[in-house]
């Protein structure tokens, strides 16, 4: 089994090595996970399928955010805005233009790419705190914009848009919840595969180079401005598609669905899942969907206090996120299985 990480490479890569080529064991692991995922809706209730679908949707959104912040170093406190734009695009197209739900995803993605790219241009001048503020502003502006009276003809204003849940096509013997789960899983698999390839390739390396040392990166001929804006666009695209999916699954959108808390949850999910990690997005998605529910089970009186404690404990013990922790465990296991040098 090829092990490409020598100590020197590890040191440079810090806690976030770039996505590497798939080893056979890794592929087998993914195949197993996929098999489990395909079987789940048949063993759990419709309600749980619904929850898992939401977790998948968050995972797609988190992959988008991770591309921007984890791989490219541009912090965003406002990705909920792209989620909202994607969701409303889907809802308006379905409700007002009768577009079939699956066709709204590419539309939402493209629109969000454009918005993200355009936002990324002035954001080039901002870094760190200032970029944080600008993205925060974006997150707050979008719900206000959705309530804006002159736009009400399109957005229904504060009332929101109510949709019908799609049934399984071609008369498949699936409940709507099961069908949407598979649909979301399919979309996620597609987007994760595409994302993984992009991050592994030249663009991904350029993104990481800019994150780690943008002056050197530019010296090496990377068009920092283009890469950064494009990353913003792609990141927005992913989150927008996730938003569109959520509109179809929840079958309702309103400005209240996209308040600042959503953006903060995405940030939390990304960091807890693991920065600069594709699998981190999946862990993060599960975290964002299920941990608040767990906290509610633990304490009815102050569930969010429990949630806050969980956040802090996670950051104490897994500062590189769950993905980072898994990587540590794998590395530790590998060392033990390989035996100590004295064993020969």
């Amino acid at each position: 089994m090829a092990d490409s990480s020598s100590p020197a490479v590890e040191a440079v890569a810090v806690a976030n090595p770039p996505a590497r080529a798939m080893s056979p064991a890794r592929l087998a692991g993914i195949a197993l996970a996929l098999a489990v995922a395909l079987g789940l809706p048949f063993v759990v209730s419709d309600f749980h399928s619904f929850q898992l679908t939401q977790a998948i949707i968050y995972a797609i959104a988190l992959l988008g955010l991770n591309m921007l912040t984890g791989y490219n170093g541009q912090i965003s406190l406002g990705h909920g805005a792209f989620y909202a734009i994607g969701a409303y695009t889907a809802a308006i197209l379905i409700d007002k233009a009768g577009v079939p739900y699956w066709a709204t995803l590419p539309a939402a993605g493209i629109l969000c790419f454009v918005v993200g790219f355009l936002f990324g241009l002035p954001a080039l001048r901002l870094e760190g705190l200032y970029l944080a503020l600008a993205t925060l502003a974006l997150a707050l502006v979008v719900p206000q914009f959705l309530r804006f009276r002159p736009m009400e003809g399109l957005t229904n204003g504060v009332q929101g848009i109510s949709l019908d849940k799609p049934a399984a096509p071609f008369g498949l013997p699936l409940t709507p919840d099961q069908w949407l789960y598979f649909f979301a899983l399919f979309v996620a698999a597609l987007m994760f595969w595409a994302g993984h390839n992009m991050l592994r390739g030249r663009i991904g390396r350029a993104m990481i180079a800019i994150r780690d040392h943008h002056i050197s990166a530019e010296t090496m001929g990377i068009n920092s401005a283009l890469i950064k804006s494009t990353t913003f666009g792609v990141s927005a695209l992913y989150t927008g598609v996730a938003g569109a999916l959520s509109a179809v699954v929840v079958a309702f959108v309103a400005p209240d669905s996209f308040e600042l808390f959503l953006s903060i949850s995405l940030l939390v999910g990304m960091v807890i899942g693991g920065l600069a990690s594709v699998s981190g997005a999946i862990y993060g998605g599960l975290f964002v969907q299920f941990v608040p529910n767990i906290a509610e089970e633990v304490s009815k009186a102050a569930p969010w206090a429990i949630y806050g404690v969980i956040l802090i404990l996670f950051m104490f013990f897994m500062p590189a996120g769950i993905a980072g922790f898994v990587r540590q465990i794998r590395g530790w296991l590998r060392k033990r299985l390989a035996g100590s040098p004295a064993d020969g």
């Binding site: 200032y130 939390v268 920065l275 969010w304 206090a305 949630y307 969980i310 996670f314 500062p319």
Partner: protein
Amino acid sequence: MDLFVQQVLAGLAVGGIYASLALALVMIYQATELVNFAQGEMAMFSTYIAWQLVQSGVPFWVAFFLTIVISLIGGVAIERLIIRPARNAPVLAIVIIFIGLLVILNSMAGWIWTYTNQIFPSPFPDRPYLGVNVQELGAIGVTLVVLALVFAFFRYTTLGLAMRAAAQNPTSSRLVGIRVGWMLALGWGLAAAIGGVAGIMVAPKLQLDPNMMGGVLLYAFAGALVGGISSPGGAVLGGFAVGVIENLVGTYVPVVGSQLKLAVALILIVGVLTVRPAGIFGRSVVHRV
């Protein structure tokens, strides 16, 4: 003209609210080079403590100073217990810790004191003056006093100098004998105390509830950045500016203004930052490559 003057005065009055919290943000930034997103909730929690004291019969100004002391101790405790163990974690992990702290404080305040708004007494008389209220002017006055104290502290005391040094260059500071760890803790304590003052001053106007500072934090953040996060005076000025800009935008920009004034104000602020990235009064820090 009358409308303009009224809006400027009203803007200054609300800007005073932003300015007072911005001061706390600056304090924490000066000490730790981090923006503490939980600052608003810490201020809110301190205000609840003050409220509880007043409810139990303690006279207002005694409760005021008692709360400052309690907040100071609380801030130091938070730094020692929660921030310090994670000091080597990546920046975003620390941000998540701030968010965790924010959520805990909000939830605990709601659990202890319920989510119903409480009326908080103002120490100043309730009298109109030039269209604003004497209570608001009194609050602005207290903010300016605190600003003067903070400015004097950083400029003229050895402790203030030591704190700034510890934040900017911990290694060299240790070599000179500065207890860097305790400087950080002190920074947190002072920021918590300033936040407590801010909360007590704004609570009469905003009414006390666990979500009181939620909306204010963003404006305070924007004001601090636009004025210059490394400058207490700049941040306070920034807070006032944000209040006035938002009011004027709301009044004079047609159609868009009244309903999207938050959006327009923020766009303006971000615009300022793209032109002057360190804020109007901030100092551009040049890093070695």
